[in-house]
């Protein structure tokens, strides 16, 4: 399979703190990759580098053959990349429909129109379809700031789905969800097209190991190991750094 995201020797330093230390990743098209590790391991920083929210101190990020290392995040959707954030970042003052509409408008380059066109009407209808895929049909005209935590997470996911991406970065999508909501999320992630590349940061091991074909374990800004969910689950070193010595 052709690789869609290549991360080579990425280091990120915040003053004296090295959040990432020479990370290398090669992610194939359609691959489901989970990145796990304890808090402060550098998982979200790695996502931020891939998504263009921060530039690496050294190293390179190539997405679908294009060097994006220092290109700002707004160029990523054109390369088919969508992301969600650890803390749900829907636009609080806008409705669910408007949030999804913005995701569609951003992807389709309809950024600055001062009037409504048939394309906008189509996107408005499309936003309803996307909302129903994320189980938000009933909340379609509810302002995002009034949604429950789980619904905001669903909205984040809906905004990522809306752009029909080739690569999706999901930062702790199951965080704060109830058991039922987590199960529903896992079902949704499993239902995605097999051509979609999925990078997942997740603390819920049930969700992460269920979705992922490959798991990368990080600690202190470094990649500790990579392997299948079974290999990672069985690795005593992973147990030691992630689950504590007792588990090992």
């Amino acid at each position: 399979m052709a690789s869609v995201v290549q991360v080579t020797g990425v280091t990120v330093a915040f003053g004296g703190l090295r959040a990432l230390r020479g990370i290398d990743l090669d992610i194939a098209q359609g691959e489901r990759l989970a990145i796990i590790g304890p808090n402060g391991a550098g998982k979200t920083t790695l996502f931020n580098v891939i998504a263009g929210d921060i530039a690496p101190t050294t190293g390179a990020v190539v997405i679908r053959g294009q060097d994006c290392t220092y290109r700002p995040s707004r160029h990523r959707p054109r390369l088919g990349l969508a992301r969600t954030y650890q803390k749900a970042r829907a636009f609080a003052g806008l409705t669910v429909r408007e949030n999804i509409y913005l995701a569609l408008a951003g992807h389709r380059g309809r950024h600055r129109a001062l009037w409504w066109s048939p394309a906008d009407r189509a996107m408005r209808d499309e936003a309803s379809d996307v909302a129903s895929r994320a189980w938000l049909s009933e909340q379609i005209d509810v302002v995002a700031g009034e949604l429950a935590h789980g619904q905001r997470r669903q909205l984040e996911l809906a905004m990522a789905i809306a752009t029909d991406p080739d690569v999706m970065l999901l930062d702790e999508p199951a965080s704060g969800l109830s058991r039922g909501e987590r199960e529903r999320l896992a079902e949704l992630l499993e239902s995605f097209d097999q051509q979609l590349t999925l990078l997942l940061i997740e603390h819920d091991m049930d969700v992460a190991f269920r979705i992922a074909q490959r798991v990368v374990v990080m600690a202190d800004g470094e990649q500790v190991m990579a392997g299948t969910p079974e290999q990672v689950r069985a690795d005593p070193h992973v147990h030691h750094i992630y689950l504590g010595t007792e588990a090992a």
């Binding site: 995040s73 707004r74 954030y85 950024h111």
Partner: protein, 356 residues
């Protein structure tokens, strides 16, 4: 995101208000219409650009009066002929209007492009710096501002009688109000609100956040420029002191009095400001308590202070609260009891962002 205009109570109230304002010249004195109301509409139009930027873009701008002044100065330079002050280009008045609007809009775009990379207090301070620099540019380059300003500026023949200027102000005000409100539901307006709520998220969705901010600033500059043209026609002259730091703050104060989160508040704030400015001296016994015309700014300061303490959302906030209270009272009118159960009403309490 309803695309069809709806006939709501608010729309109906707006239509009645506009109708009343259209009929006002036949109901009120010429002084009230041509002085109080025309000035209200001009200042309200300019203050509405502050509200537009703050409400939808999260940008509190102190450069709107500069845009207002640039348009006035450019019109004066282009339209006057053979006068003692300014460039005296002697163009046709409507060509001068076009020139003034183009220069103002371009200036707004350039200034907006620079300011668009800042947010919050830094944006406010940068736009204040624009205002200060603008003042000194016009105060010191007398070739474009004339020594002591440009005087004897005539308005185009179409707007000859003063009442026509009032109608021009009313027309532009209605267009600006309706236009700004309509924009909020367009792709541009929704994206602007997205930029206000979370610029990082907007960038991750593919939006060019600084460009979006710059374009909003340009649009606001364009509308402020229109207000500046009305002002220079109403005043017949413009001088650098009229865009100095004092008047710059007054425009912000007008927006705050009306309510910086309400478009209609801009005109309400302007009306209160002009009323106080015009009629303060006529109040009986007011001079006995030390309030004279010279202490006008003190009175305005006290009014702003009182409004900010009582209602940070300005006068429109007070009005909305009163309307809400009346609505709640109407909703909680006790229903005829059957004598078996106690009536239960929906209650709601907001504690910051928490609603219980």
């Amino acid at each position: 995101m309803n695309l069809r205009p709806r006939l709501t109570g608010e729309t109906l109230a707006l239509a009645v208000l506009v109708l009343f304002l259209v009929l006002l010249p036949s109901l009120a004195t010429a002084f009230f219409v041509n002085f109080v109301m025309t000035q209200t509409l001009i200042l309200g139009l300019a203050a509405a650009t502050i509200v537009f930027l703050a409400k939808y873009g999260g940008m509190t701008s102190l450069a709107q009066l500069l845009m207002f002044g640039v348009a006035g100065f450019m019109f004066g330079n282009a339209a006057l002929e053979g006068g003692a002050r300014g460039l005296n280009l002697g163009w046709h008045p409507w060509a001068a209007v076009g020139f003034a609007i183009v220069v103002t809009t371009l200036a707004a775009f350039v200034l907006g492009a620079i300011a668009s990379r800042t947010t919050g207090i830094y944006f406010l301070m940068l736009t204040l710096v624009y205002g200060v620099i603008g003042y000194f540019v016009f105060a010191q380059i007398v070739e474009i501002s004339g020594p002591g300003g440009i005087t004897s500026i005539q308005r185009p023949d179409l707007l000859g009688p003063p009442v026509r200027l009032y109608y021009a102000g009313l027309l532009l005000s209605v267009l600006a109000y309706v236009g700004f409100r309509a924009i909020r539901r367009t792709a541009f307006g929704l994206a602007l609100q997205g930029v206000r709520d979370d610029p990082v998220r907007m960038a991750s969705l593919g939006f060019n956040v600084p460009l979006h901010r710059a374009l909003a600033f340009t649009l606001a500059g364009f509308v402020a420029g229109l207000a500046g043209l009305l002002n220079v026609w109403w005043n017949g002259q413009i001088d650098p002191a009229s865009i100095s730091i004092g008047p710059t703050l007054i425009l912000l104060i007008i927006a705050v009095i009306g309510g910086i989160s309400s478009l209609g508040g801009a005109w309400l704030g302007a009306f209160v400001y002009v009323l106080v400015f015009t009629y303060l001296r006529d109040l009986p016994l007011v001079d006995r308590i030390g309030i004279t015309e010279a202490r006008f700014n003190t009175v305005i300061g006290v009014i702003v202070l009182a409004i900010m303490v009582l209602s940070p959302e300005g006068l429109t906030g007070i009005i909305q609260r009163l309307r809400g209270r009346l609505r709640r009272r109407a909703a909680t009118e006790p229903a005829p009891s059957d004598g078996r159960s106690l009536p239960v009403h929906t209650t709601q309490k907001e504690l910051g962002g928490t609603r219980s």
